[in-house]
Symmetry: C2
DNA sequence: TTCTGACATATTTAGCGTAAAATGTCAGGA
DNA sequence: TCCTGACATTTTACGCTAAATATGTCAGAA
């Protein structure tokens, strides 16, 4: 490759182990939380990342690509943490509570406490299918947990008259409802734990 | 009162038994569902109601007042229907399912099927505190149901580790989450019934 | 190789005047 | 008494321009 060749953008969004991309995504998260996605300029992100604006384009195609990468990164991590929490030893209630807690950890706290963090909860349009795919992946994780727990005789889906997929879908969407009305992080956490208790009680005999 | 006195607007939003006001609110609902609240003009509502535009102002202060009246009317009816369904004879699961179904009956079906009906789900800003108060009233109804059912030994709130008010609040908000992502009415109903089954299973021993 | 300053392009913003539409009110008709 | 047509006012929608800002890309420095 010669230096006077045109820029060759990364074919996909940045890899999980690229430290530069990670730094940019962190800076972007901070910037978006502060100003909102629309009002954030590439220059703001570059400044927050401590690099020049031009360097951003060496790692991401454009602003939308940064947002996509950010969301994808979040969902990748959330999926792993979610599955880990659900799979950890313990009773069903704590597994569910820790599972949902894993979906709203420190990152989420920063988001809700930031000036325009709430706006980032509604970027489905700009972020494209990444969000829907991420949510679907989380629902699959939960569905798999339900199947495993039922196979182990720890819960019974008959109690709620549903198969694992339908149940997981409803549970995830109802959980998302708790994010509405711009609650404080603390209030949200209480409601989240409460909902997890309801889920646990519904599934256990 | 002399005819040349200035218009005397109704002090509060129209009464539940005023047939004229009811007709206007029905026309407004149809119009808002069709065009959305913002794009609907008073002339559209008047035409749908079969009266002159000026006559609207004999019953409502302005467009915002019509919206308020519409939402208030909905919540008044919903509260009554919700309480009736929860209080009807039957097992807990059917009471909860019929209760939540009462909150999304024919009116709600029309809404979701209308071109811009979804917009009406997000009019908190324009409708003011009416929506929040209506939601709170519904939560109180559910909380009272939970208390009564527990007193009768039909459910146990200990199972979900919550008092009636907290549980009702979370249950209502999680229910609202199901309205997200613009589902069809049929899909929404399935999820709603599924969530009611989860709630019932959680509360019964 | 990695990154930056600077450039050309594209987009956004704000202002401003006009036309069109919507609003709220009233005198007066049915 | 209830309602309407018409009026004055306010709000919105355009079209246009210039200025400002943001974007994406390079040649070349570090």
């Amino acid at each position: 490759m010669h230096s006077n060749d045109p820029i060759e953008h990364p074919p996909e969004t940045a890899q999980l182990d690229d430290p530069k991309a990670t730094a940019i995504l962190h800076a972007a998260f901070a910037t978006f939380s502060l100003y909102g996605y629309r009002r954030s300029a590439m220059a703001d992100i570059a400044k927050a990342a401590g690099i020049s604006r031009a360097a951003l384009y060496l790692h991401f195609k454009n602003k939308e690509d940064i947002l996509r990468g950010m969301m994808q990164r979040y969902y990748q991590g959330a999926e792993i943490d979610f599955a880990a929490a659900l799979g950890a030893p313990g009773v069903v209630m704590s597994q569910l509570q820790n599972g949902f807690a894993a979906l709203s950890g420190e990152t989420f706290r920063q988001l809700l406490n930031a000036p325009h963090g709430h706006e980032l909860l509604d970027v489905k349009a700009e972020a494209g299918p990444v969000v829907a795919e991420g949510e679907a992946a989380l629902a699959r994780v939960l569905a798999q947990y339900l199947r495993d727990a039922e196979a182990a005789g720890r819960i019974s889906l008959d109690l709620i008259g549903a198969d694992a997929d339908a149940a997981a879908g409803v549970m995830m969407q109802a959980y998302k409802g708790l994010k509405q009305d711009g609650p404080s992080y603390e209030v949200f956490c209480e409601k989240r734990d409460q909902l997890a208790r309801i889920y646990a009680a519904a599934l256990m005999r």
